[in-house]
Amino acid sequence: MLAFIIKRFVQSLVVMLVVGLIAFVMFRFVGDPVDQMVGLETSIEDRERLREALGLNAPLPMQYWNFISSAAQGDFGTSYQFKRPVAVMLGDRLSATLELALVSAIFALCAGIPMGVFTALYKDSVLTKLFQAVSLVGISLPTFLIGILLIYVFSVQLQWLPSFGRGEVVDIAGWSTGLLTSSGLKALILPAITLGLFQMTLIMRLVRSEMMEILRSDFIKFARARGLTPRAVHFGHALKNTMIPVITITGLQLGSIIAFAIITETVFQWPGIGLMFLQAVQDVDVPIMAAYLLMIAFLFVFINLIVDILYVVVDPRIHIEKA
């Protein structure tokens, strides 16, 4: 078990180093960092001094090492555009994105799993057809279009919910949250649905196909032959086995929710890191782009690690194979 976790941890570290290399190459070679930082009127001597101060004259592997180690300490450099430390800018906006992502993930899971189970069990029900239609639309409508439609219906036409921003936020120990104010909660509804709908569809389809596969398996047939109640067969034996792939995929999806937040945040002008990243892409603000990339990669890797550990907890077979 411990060996397994250590192995996974080392693998994660390698992935982080590779992503770090990409971020570093971007930072170093997409435009000249010095040119980006200073105005046109700066003298060549001043530039050279800055270059030396930034360590840009050191050998490349050395530069990479400096880049990685300072990133590991939370120093992502200074934004070209805003002249502020990137780490501080990210910190200001991280809570908005994480709250949005978390609420959408919960929505996706709480709606997706029951819908998937239902559609697998009652293949010919009218509700199943409805769910499947919804899922097809969920997969076919691009996220931004869903957002626009929701805004048009609930903000423009019905005027029930706000179309942009985060509402009022409360600061709790440096973490700004919109979950505690009514305007904050109201503002969260549409973005969370927009962001979660696609994931919900994925989870529903996954649960459905896994469940159908498992319902055909011998041990389900045997469980039925022993006269276990449909409840025990479906929600005990079948669902538990279904959950193994669902855990994996959901874990991975959590990462992509954060990435997809770029789109949702743009549509709803949600003040998170995705919106900041998009602006950085348009302005070629490389330090922000690199920092965002590293942070997303870190979240991905971290979540993957958790998923792997969760896996071991759920599936007894893994203990033996790894021990």
């Binding site: 992935v15 639309v137 196909s209 789109i263 998009l278 892409v281 990339l293």
Partner: protein, 313 residues
């Protein structure tokens, strides 16, 4: 009567198609047939956009700001000349949609083709060479697969745009899009082809080909390709829908096709600014077109996957 051999062959092919399980499942599924019809219509209208569209939205001379922001023809202030209304620059929305879907589909098809060629090649190399080459390619694939395609496309598009710097956005946009979408979708092809190649690699005919001096790589290409045609086709169909969505999303986010020759995504981006002032048609018509196109292609892809993989039914 001696039957012409060629006709006989053709006849038997048609008979084989009509008797196949795929054709059967196609005719059994009304939804699939409708999806196929819609896909065909959209492709045809995109192809013939210059002929069938009532106006040329790119002909700046014919545009008049007097005609801007007209609602659809059936509403009170509508102009029968502009069936689906006009946008802020006075372009006919219907014509712009036809031209826009032409651009969206072209980007989609070319980037899917690019991704397929790249993925098949890399998969074949990985499967054939094995060892370190295989490990490196598949490791990259693993890492890339854990990131959503849209993020990768966004990063690539952003980076390339930055590198291209002063280059003409209008001309580079198409290439940048194709490269970024193509690069973010190659993994699935590579995995499929690699596993099939691993199976074929040790078969006798590959050894035999080597003995007679043929390059085994070419031989494998000829033998592996037919084996993976089914899955590749399924992946490509579903990827086409994804590529169209990705293009639209990138354009919507402002890193895709610029506004002068808009794709569907660009149109939605432009129209979004007018949504609050009540000019819904600029956004919602291209949005509907995009949704229908993607839905139809997705339905076809789903059906194809099920038809080629009876286990899933």
């Amino acid at each position: 009567m001696p039957m012409n051999k060629e006709t006989g062959k053709k006849m038997s092919l048609i008979v084989r198609i009509l008797d196949s399980d795929i054709w059967y499942s196609f005719t059994r599924s009304k939804v699939t047939m409708i999806a196929a019809l819609i896909t065909f219509l959209i492709f045809a209208s995109a192809l013939f956009a210059p002929i069938i569209s009532p106006h040329n939205p790119f002909d700046l001379a014919s545009l008049s700001l007097m005609d801007s922001l007209l609602p659809p023809a059936w509403s009170a202030e509508g102009d029968p000349n502009y069936l689906l209304g006009t946008d802020d620059q006075g372009r006919d929305v219907l014509s712009t949609i036809l031209y826009g879907s032409r651009i969206s589909l072209t980007v989609g098809l070319v980037s899917v083709a690019f991704a397929a060629v790249l993925g098949i090649t890399l998969g074949l190399i990985a499967g054939y060479m094995g060892g370190r080459v295989d490990a490196i390619i598949m490791r990259i694939a693993d890492v890339q697969l854990s990131f959503p395609a849209i993020l990768i496309a966004l990063l690539i598009a952003g980076t390339v745009n930055a590198l291209a710097g002063g280059m003409d956005r209008e001309r580079s946009a198409f290439t940048v899009l194709v490269i970024s979408i193509g690069l973010s979708f190659w993994v699935q092809y590579a995995r499929t082809v690699r596993s099939s190649t691993l199976v074929e690699r040790n078969k006798e005919y590959v050894q035999a080909a080597r003995l007679i001096g043929l390059h085994p790589f070419l031989i494998m290409l000829r033998h592996v390709l037919p084996n993976v045609m089914g899955p590749v086709l399924v992946i490509a169909t579903i990827n086409l829908a994804l590529a169209v969505i990705t293009e639209a999303t990138l354009s919507f986010l402002g890193v895709g096709i610029p506004g002068t020759q808009p794709s569907l995504g660009t149109m939605i981006r432009t129209g979004n600014d007018f949504l609050f002032s009540g000019e819904w048609w600029i956004t919602l018509f291209p949005g509907a077109m995009l949704a229908i196109l993607v839905l139809a292609v997705n339905l076809l892809g789903d059906w194809l996957r099920d038809a080629l993989n009876p286990k899933l039914r």
